[in-house]
Amino acid sequence: MKSSISTPLVTVEHGLQVLRAFRCEMTALGNVDLVRRTGLSKAIVSRLTSTLLQTGFLRHAPGSRQFQLANGPHSIGYSFLTRSEMVQAFDPFLRRLADSLNVSVALAVGNGLEMIYVGYRAGHHSSTLRMGLGSVLPMGTTSIGHAYLWGVPAVEQSQLIKALRLQAGDHAAAVDDCLQSSFASLRTSGTCGVLGGYGRGSFGIATPLVAGRQQMVMALSCGKASIKPDLEKEHGRIAPELQAAARAIEEALTNFDGAL
């Protein structure tokens, strides 16, 4: 359990964590699920869900006491996406890559110890991987997270890795192993691949990129869900085009001054 001594900053952070715990899915969750997903105490979670309910960000799922995302969050995300010139600029590249390789393509930024999809396009046949814009993925166990970690400045990188180890608890060694093998791959080939990092039977191949005058680090990934994927073969197939797309996006965003 996290500490419950709170400043307004911590309160707002916790509240938004509860909202994020829905992972942009329509799935109904109860307070107990949210306690498990956020690590916050039950008392805190129930006050936060009550607030979210009263402000129109959550609602009761039809015929149930569990909660579901309501309409409140939709217009915030929409306002951001329609006003962000960067999002408009990189979207065509994602679409091209998705169609060309027939995979789902995501562009993500790091936030806390998680990765957030700020761009997403699905290939024609990849509808089985149910993710999309706004999806939140763990940084420690996904290819897109590892590529991002590889891309950030050294000081930030070591801080993040330390925090990830702490978060993983008993699984710290396993997270470390996976991360080191991704880093080895990134060092030699510029890309990394993780199998089943998120959902079994799926894989992700990712590479970091740096965008705009403010040198913002992001990660670009290709993913697919398939039965017993041959990671090595897919990696070889996807890596060259993935890297070419990453360079093309960097090029297109060179003169962007704004932050994303």
Binding site: P8, L9, L16, T51, S75, G77, S79, V109
Partner: protein, 291 residues
Amino acid sequence: MDSELTCVIDAPQSNSPSVGLGGGDSATGDKVCLVRATGRPIVAPFARALALLASFTSKDLWCSGRELAARTGLPPSTAIRISDTLVQLGYLHYSPVTRGYRLAAPVVALGYGAIANSNAQRVARAQMGQLAEQQRVHVHLSSRDRLETVILESCSSSKTASSHLKLDVGTRLGLASSPLGWALLAALPEVERYYLLEHLERRAPRDWQLLRRRTGEGLSQVQRLGFCYSLGGWRAGLAMIALPVVVDGYAPHVLSCVGSAAQMPRARVELELGPRLVAMADKIRYESALA
């Protein structure tokens, strides 16, 4: 459910910084955690942060602290303090040059995708685009948020002359004041409908007679025709048709189409556009159940 309909921002303001959630008893201090008459706690700093994020529109880039204060009804010092908190957490950017705030990328993680990626909406989006193009009208999908309908999806024909009539995503209309709301009310169980109408009456006692009569007409149109419409009555020169779409597992949605009154005479509305929308709602219901 009662408190869901009350406005959060009218929570008492304190000049000293709020201390957020205490570790222990929440009901002891009003600055700590406001407990409403209904007995449901609301965490004030969090509710204010949500209101502040929601006050940005798709037309804003940079927004000053003063502007945000005006929109949320918060005192400027409070609005700025909360904005700075959101900057620290990465949800807003601050520009010293414009001295303004804007939404940052992590806001998309707060739930945007749940609706945008939902089957029902994906299916609806494709069909709405087709209808807008064929009929040269604006087609919208909306849903309820407290006492209003909110536009979730908006499709327009590239050839339409009436682009000023388009309703943008995020646009809110009172439940009793337009066909969107009437269609939504028509889809609800009776108890819930009367419950909402009661609250609407408390909000707008002055115009209530007129709104109540129009709402009643709208509800009976939906029962008779499957859709309801307003030809210039809701807004001069504008015609609107709306009908409910009920997909299993989702709260009711409303499908609607808007055009100029000249372009949408009664005969076209009743014999062509209305029935088309009814067929489309059936198709959306059917296809989202398959997806």
